[in-house]
Symmetry: C2
Subunit: 404 residues, 2 copies
Amino acid sequence: MINVAVFGYGTVGSGVVEVIEKNKNMINKKAGAELNVKYVLDLRDFPGDPIQEKVVHDVNVILDDPEVQIICETMGGVNPAYDFTKQALLKGKSVCTSNKELVANHGPELLRLARENQCNYLFEASVGGGIPIIRPLNYSLTAEKIDGITGILNGTTNYILTKMDKEGADFADVLKEAQEKGYAEKNPEADVEGYDACRKIAILSSLMCLKNVKYEDIYTEGITKITAADFLYAKELDMSIKLLAMSKDMGDEYFAMVAPFMISREHPLYSVNDVFNAVFVHGNMLGDSMYYGRGAGKLPTASAVVSDVVDCARHIGKTVMCFWEDEDVKLASMDNVSHKFFVRVDKSKADEAKVKEVFGNVQVVQVPSLTNEVGFVTEVMTEKAFKEKAEELGAVISRIRIEQ
Amino acid sequence: MINVAVFGYGTVGSGVVEVIEKNKNMINKKAGAELNVKYVLDLRDFPGDPIQEKVVHDVNVILDDPEVQIICETMGGVNPAYDFTKQALLKGKSVCTSNKELVANHGPELLRLARENQCNYLFEASVGGGIPIIRPLNYSLTAEKIDGITGILNGTTNYILTKMDKEGADFADVLKEAQEKGYAEKNPEADVEGYDACRKIAILSSLMCLKNVKYEDIYTEGITKITAADFLYAKELDMSIKLLAMSKDMGDEYFAMVAPFMISREHPLYSVNDVFNAVFVHGNMLGDSMYYGRGAGKLPTASAVVSDVVDCARHIGKTVMCFWEDEDVKLASMDNVSHKFFVRVDKSKADEAKVKEVFGNVQVVQVPSLTNEVGFVTEVMTEKAFKEKAEELGAVISRIRIEQ
């Protein structure tokens, strides 16, 4: 029997207990031992809940119990999860987490502590909810030099953008509806400003580089400025708009960013709708591969945490492979990053001839109902060149990058 | 240093050597040791090839060399690969294979031999080429009860169907072009009749059931009867036609089949085009997840073989987890399997009224250019009920199942 403790009995933590109970035959078979939830750490009590007898309020009860070998940290936030995780690892207890915040902030240090204490720090649930992505990167694509990762990593924004696309609605209205349905937080900033996706691409980028990509260094733009009009243009172009988090190995340097992008109907990420997430990975031998599924939600996320528990159970006393060094990666300046851009222009300030004079060869897009403006798609150009030309033109209403 | 031997220096075997050489820094780091290709087994010589000195014609040279710890079996076919693999495993040498034929025929026995001899029999490359799918099923989805797998598992047929969809061409013409381009074999039977996809879904089904699904028991229908007219109807329905291999846990029994299906634009498999493959997996906690990438080709397939080599290198002397028992699974009769059906009817033999009289509530589809016939979509019904009603109607030109 292997004793497990759950830190935090919120949505994911209670999901972990539920998954372990519901699929126990399959899980115990794969773990090679019976998993027993011995403790649940929470400030609250849960009278009437089957785990009420297991609830403790003092973390030291768990840390001092040599019978506990694996901890599921589903508290979220950096503190006190950071301190609790360190203490657990120092005592040789493996920790499985859904806490992207903590992993993005202290991943390399916690992985080192795990190695030094012959245990594991696993974080499959921290990116893409239930989608297997950390383990495929670490265990499956081992013969690849991974040189690009592009993901739809936030379910809330993807839900909002999907609704805007299908219903022609405006951002504020859809956000309000999403909040009423519980798909978006009351304070939606972390999602809609791209901060959540930023943490997640920092983690994936680090696993790509095998070094530390600091999330603070990643250029991040949210979806709050995307409008119903933008989707009218997207439709004319047979495209949709998605919040993409991406990371690329450009040979001598890496770049990473989070921003809304237009993508064409042919792109596999085009069909990733609603709260689904997907991660597109490019390797130098394999080419493109994609991993798709539910990026959030109680049971999918808990399922990923429990898959980490099974991994830990099969590797008691042994640290499994994860290359993510302390050394920080210096990211390339955004100025040098290139894409096509979709641009909306105020017709009263610049006509098509002027656009072509400044931007050269462009594809003009006219939405019949938007008579005061015109849209166009540029050739591939750097962010720096785009900024300069946009300033020269002086009539730009907005721009959205295009992913190809 | 870990010594590796490659059995068969064809497309995949030479790819294995190339991948190990090209990504050696990354691979050796992940393997935790330097990989050295010591032998290549082939009937031919390869003068001028960098591996010419390593070629041997007698398998016993390799089997008797205690320095060889890992073998890549990239010969294909059951014999003599079966015998060579057994002998290698009996000597405690791990075997990594791309040989779906052998895995589908003798998987459980070879896995048992590996366990008994503290080595491994790994087969990531046998399904979906370079797509990580075997390892995600075995190592990642360990907290799930997997209850459904649906895949586009054959690149040749997907290439043909994509071309037919996009160009309105007929099967025979596209096949001829595919053969000229090398995307289809001169004898295309294994691909176009669905036999290749059948082997692959047998392997995936076995990993879902943890028992043995015999490929001979799987209902298999190819794409040779799909016509340009079928795609005209598919377009009217906003659908495409894909060769799907599927397997479902229906609670008290399993079923598996390979056949062309219509799928709607909303389905994530709709966008899987050309030679790409994808596997859709449903778990009871996670819901849907999908794994997408290149299902064939020299380097993608070789990359999967080498990822198995890395796994073996990290687990010398230890058999990694794979549950696939010898016990055969009895599959459900196709009679009891249910879908919607798309049906084309000869108008001279039955009109819409007659169709509705026999099939009840149907969705009628008329392609303007096909004046002598009419199409319709049934409600969900069993294969048995469909057969009976189709016979009663007596005017059916053809039918294609619909996946929802």
